[in-house]
Amino acid sequence: MTIEISIRIGASRGLPGHMAGRTSAHYAIAPVVTAPRRSLAKRTVAAVITGALVLGAAGALNAQTLLNVSYDPTREFYREYNTQFANWWQAQGNAAPKLETSHGGSGAQARAVMDGLNAQVVTLALASDIDKIAQMGKLPADWQSRLPHNASPYTSTIVFLVRKGNPKHIQDWDDLTGDGIEVITPNPKTSGGARWNYLAAWAWAEKNGKDPKAFVHDLYAHVPVLDSGARGATTTFAQRGIGDVLLAWENEAYLALEQMGDDAFDIVVPSVSIRAEPPVAMVTANIKDDDQRALAQAYLEHLYAPEAQALAFKHFYRAWDTSAAAPEDVARFPKLDLVGIEDFGGWSKAQPDHFGDGGIFDQIYVPQ
């Protein structure tokens, strides 16, 4: 019996305190008489308490947690970045952080944070989504000036994805409204990314002396399916075979090529597009102490470090610092004429004017 006990305890040394205690008590005591059982039970209790205390104390010292609430297509990037950052953070002499991420539609994610999702860091698709959180007082109104480049460590733009060989000869925005052309783009009302598509079209029309309102009206008349999100639109185009051209984020388009084979599609870069800036910010109201603040701050600032920027390039984002990036990741991106959201008066103006209830986009579908 004694041997039995020692084996059990020895075998369960790797387990957390309460498990080890339970295993030894449960299996070993049964045939033993009452008096030793009590002492063993006491020892078990003591072991459990000690274990809990040790774990608890270790928890207080170690596991500084951080929840990053992000939007859909950033999973691969943040998965790698979390590892990279955790290593760097430990190299600075800190304990290993516990980094958690949540991905979903940008607007829905912002809503979750507003309704109490305990995010310390938000990394969303649109500045207007973070502005909404700021309006609730969860972070300072000037959050966008607290980090370089409008708090956007990486950017992207809108390009066209066409079928291999470009059979419909689509080169620029005006080709999209040609006879019989079908355009696939998600619904700007439900997809943050699709708002960039719409604004890029608007910017091209303005630069080319066309009536932008008439042009977007014409463009959306060529859209047979308005998917609710970017991924749905990519599927409709790539796997269902609907449409001649997909308006997509550049990083999504390259990801689609990578995932679905580059023998099926080509990327066409229009003459004018928009600089899409997915911004990041710290949710100051959800920071519980100075240690967590330091961690969140470092998490965001490290996004601008050369190795993190290289990671962004690798994941098809246009980042800023090319010093550590692989040359082929940088060379992939052609130069093109980019307008910014500031040309539309910022999101605080563009959002209600174009995409608000009864805004210009809604008017497209009002029967005339």
Partner: protein
């Protein structure tokens, strides 16, 4: 509340406790959250609610949602009773597999169902390509919405009719046959009326479920405003703009219409049961 609910006859025990548990859980799980929605709508103001609801696009979406839901529920009524009949009354190879398949529309997350259905019915899909030859487009049209709604509502009628049919007294049928009624007449005059309350329950549930369905429809609908835009999508659109009030307004409108429909079906059911009992 309890006073109004007091039973007229009380030969049975347990009214207090069962009604107590029922009302408590109903309040906690259902009425309280819905109450929060109603309060939100009330705070928004009736005129504002009406302004959001009374737009051509909202009406188009509500009409589309309720029309297709009703059609899908009717289809499920016929197919569901047939399926329940076949599963309960006949013995054939693969019956248990069929029985198992009935619940699958629930177990598959709605988004998966939507993606799978779109894969099948898209112009390059297995069914879609055949139908395209016949000049019939299903995916990204109202037919696509219909197919998705039939799918999500399928289990309801089957599963409400099945237990009633299984425990139904066969002596009634035998009596009817002995009295010289043809089989068709027995089915129409004896069996179907007895299945009616259960079938109506199933229809009510399928209808209600279809009206609110979002996840599966969104992939196959096309979502073009005024044509293939369903009412729940309008709610999501309002939420994307952080417009909780307008979202609550459309939600309330849907709730009100569904409530009236369900109440009508349930009254019809209570009435049809009284008629059977009196007959």
């Amino acid at each position: 509340m309890m006073a109004a609910l007091r039973p007229r006859r009380s030969a049975m025990p347990g009214f207090g406790i069962t009604m107590g548990v029922t009302l408590t859980m109903l309040s906690l799980v259902v009425l309280l959250p819905i109450g929060a929605l109603v309060i939100k709508g009330t705070a928004f103001g009736p005129e504002a609610v009406w302004e959001v609801v009374n737009r051509p696009r909202t009406w188009a979406a509500l009409w589309l949602s309720f029309r297709l839901s009703a059609l899908a529920a009717l289809f499920n009524l016929v197919f569901g009773v047939l399926l329940a009949w076949v599963l309960v009354r006949y013995r054939f190879v693969g019956r248990r597999l069929f029985d198992a398949a009935v619940d699958l529309p629930f177990a598959l997350p709605t988004a998966v169902a939507g993606i799978a259905l779109t894969t099948l019915y898209a112009p390059n899909g297995v069914f879609g390509s055949v139908l395209a030859h016949l000049g019939w487009r299903v995916a990204y049209t109202q037919w696509g919405i219909f197919v998705a709604l039939v799918f999500v509502g399928l289990p309801f009628v089957v599963r409400t009719v099945q237990p009633v049919l299984a425990t139904m007294d066969r002596e009634l049928e035998e009596a009817s046959a002995t009295l010289g009624a043809s089989r068709t007449r027995t089915i129409c005059k004896v069996i179907l009326p007895m299945l009616m309350p259960a079938a109506l329950t199933g229809v009510a549930l399928a209808l209600a479920r279809a009206v609110g369905e979002y996840g599966s429809v969104i992939f196959i609908a096309g979502n073009i405003p005024m044509r293939t835009e369903i009412a729940p999508l309008l709610i999501v659109i309002q939420l994307e703009e952080f417009n909780y009030d307008a979202a609550a307004a459309i939600g309330l409108a849907m709730l009100a219409i569904s409530f009236v429909l369900l109440l009508a079906i349930n009254l019809l059911q209570v009435w049809s049961r009284r008629r059977i009992e009196n007959a």
